[in-house]
């Protein structure tokens, strides 16, 4: 683990430092993964395609959290709130204003960016557990706010809204599920590439400087307040896109789908995938989608306990998440090459 040494900053927001090269997969591996993602849906059933779509969507949401925590060192338990705002933005625009589903996505990204940016402003003064509590408050408040009476005309109150699933455009011979999968894949790819470049850019380096040592960063001339709120905004914007896609895929939005449990799942996804390692977001998403189902099939009554034990196993064996496995794999490959 020499490449991923840990930086224990002041306070409690100790996040591992991410060396630039270890942030993504190599070109070869990336292309291989992309090819698998492109080809597999042709051969599997609609239900599996749906699950793969959800995997990409949750992966995006975990990626967003990863930019915030792994990138700028801020911790959030409130991602479910941004996810909900994104989902509702899309649902309301599609059902009340008849706007095309594809157009609602940039709109909800913008709305969520603004929302996250505004939330990041007062949160500037908080860090560590205090920030965790503030974001947690946001997550617990969101379902209640969505149920408020005067919004009911738009949000459908407790009942929620039903969203129509889009057909494939241009008369493409595809099922709705498959089209939605490829649509999600395109959006995910675009955002993934954007995120990688963002973290490698000047702004990304500013994020990481703040994560590693806020005071040192500010004395180097980094505008700490600006970049911290910006990180919140970008993270919220991406989470909002995930929320929009989620609403279209599930065809339904309701306040109780976006509780604190969702925020906790996303957090677990980030830890399992490896904090700060972007491809890990999708491994983490697979964990939070499939492991609860697996636990349920092992024991119905004890599914929570089985899930907990599995989670413990993962963090014992690989405390740095899937990224640790990737690094070990890389080292192994290097050794084989040398011999």
């Amino acid at each position: 683990m020499s490449a991923a040494e840990e930086v224990v900053g002041e306070g409690h927001e100790a996040v591992e430092a991410v060396p630039k090269r270890a942030m993504t997969l190599g070109t070869g591996t990336s292309l291989l993964v992309l090819a698998v993602l492109l080809i597999v849906p042709v051969f599997v059933k609609n239900f599996i395609i749906f699950q793969m779509t959800m995997l990409l969507i949750y992966g995006l949401a975990v990626l967003a959290l990863n930019i915030l925590t792994g990138g700028s060192g801020q911790f959030s338990l409130g991602q479910s709130a941004f996810y909900a705002v994104g989902a509702y933005t899309s649902a309301v625009l599609m059902e009340h204003a008849n706007i095309n589903y594809a157009l609602t996505i940039p709109i909800s990204a913008t709305v969520c960016f603004g929302f996250g940016y505004l939330f990041g402003k007062p949160a500037l003064r908080l860090s560590g557990v205090y920030l965790a509590l503030a974001t947690f408050a946001l997550a617990t408040a969101m379902p209640q706010l969505l149920k408020l009476n005067f919004l009911e005309h738009w949000t459908g109150g407790v009942q929620g809204l039903v969203v129509t699933k889009p057909d494939a455009p241009f008369g493409l011979p595809m099922s709705q599920d498959m089209w939605l999968y490829y649509f999600t894949l395109i959006v995910t790819l675009a955002i993934y590439i954007f995120s990688v470049n963002l973290l490698r850019s000047r702004s990304g380096r500013a994020f990481m400087a703040i994560r590693d040592n806020e005071i040192a960063a500010s004395s180097m001339g980094v505008n700490v307040a600006l970049y911290k709120t910006l990180a919140f905004g970008v993270s919220a914007g991406i989470t909002g896109v995930a929320g929009s896609l989620g609403a279209i895929a599930v065809q339904f939005v309701a306040p109780d789908s976006y509780t604190i449990t969702l925020a906790i799942s996303l957090f677990l996804g980030m830890v399992v995938g490896g904090v700060g390692w972007l491809p890990g977001s999708f491994v983490g998403a697979a964990f939070i989608i499939f492991v609860p189902n697996m636990a349920e099939s092992i024991s119905k009554g004890l599914s929570g306990a089985v899930f907990g034990v599995l989670l413990f196993l993962v963090i014992y064996l690989v405390p740095h998440g899937a990224r640790q496995i990737a690094i070990m794999g890389q080292q192994l490959a290097g050794k084989i090459k040398r011999n």
């Binding site: 840990e6 002041e10 306070g11 409690h12 927001e13 100790a14 996040v15 591992e16 925590t69 911790f75 007062p122 003064r125 908080l126 557990v129 205090y130 965790a132 509590l133 503030a134 947690f136 408050a137 617990t140 408040a141 209640q144 706010l145 149920k147 040592n213 005071i215 040192a216 004395s219 906790i264 957090f267 677990l268 980030m270 830890v271 399992v272 904090v275 009554g301 004890l302 599914s303 929570g304 306990a305 089985v306 899930f307 907990g308 034990v309 989670l311 413990f312 963090i315 014992y316 405390p319 740095h320 998440g321």
Partner: protein
Amino acid sequence: MELFTNQVLAGIATGAIYACMALAVVMIYQAIDHLNFAQGEMAMFSTFISWQLMQWGVSYWAAFIITLAFSFVAGIAIERILFKPLAKAPVLTNVAGFIALFAIINSSAGLIWDFTIKQYPTPFGSSPFLGSQLISTHQAGMIGVTVLLLLGLYFFFQYTRIGLAMRAAASVPESARLVGINTSWMIALGWGMATAIGSIAGMLIAPVVFLEPNMMGGVLIYGFAAAVLGGLSSPFGAVVGGFLVGVFENLAGTYIPGVGNELKLPIALALIISVLVVKPAGLFGRQIVKRV
């Protein structure tokens, strides 16, 4: 005016619960620098143990003492077995560990004792306190126990060798090790004490919220909020924070139109965040000076 005093007193009574929980949260935060998300579930499990003992015919106070001892040992065991190996892991990995522990305890309690709501006895009785209609003797008892607990902890940390050693281990572990303090066991001891305090909170709350595996969910959130409001480095602050949160929650529910029961929690949390924005270390917390 009568409504106002009523609500304030009721708030103080529920505040005592939050104060107790906050005290447990601060205890463990002092020892390990983490918020233990499974604290509420641990308290719930202890409360179930005491209930089971009483079902088997053990008297209330005997069950109380046995449960305290059990919780203390269980807390130490959890630290030794589950969290000691994670001591060097990243902070967020530890948080994931707490969430895993939460899931395990919640699910096992549900399997052992199922999810039906159970009555839990009170040692103080539920008649009105001193003839007033405002609070019951149980609520008065809760306030009394919390205050006693706080005093006990104060004396323990201020005037005993082991209390001093624990404080030293928490504030400067390296130097504490140099003067011969076994810091690793001090952390375990912190876990044991926090678990025991949590079990007291659980046993005091159970007559009010009834006993079931999810009983601590809301209470723990308020406990966190109270601890953060009062300052995570101050047990005294945690208790004051608990009472403040209790009172404010009740007043907001009564006087702010449209709040009612549903929005009580978000409003209470919003207040706390506003306080934190002004005083980031909490009301009684120490401001830590940072060095580059």
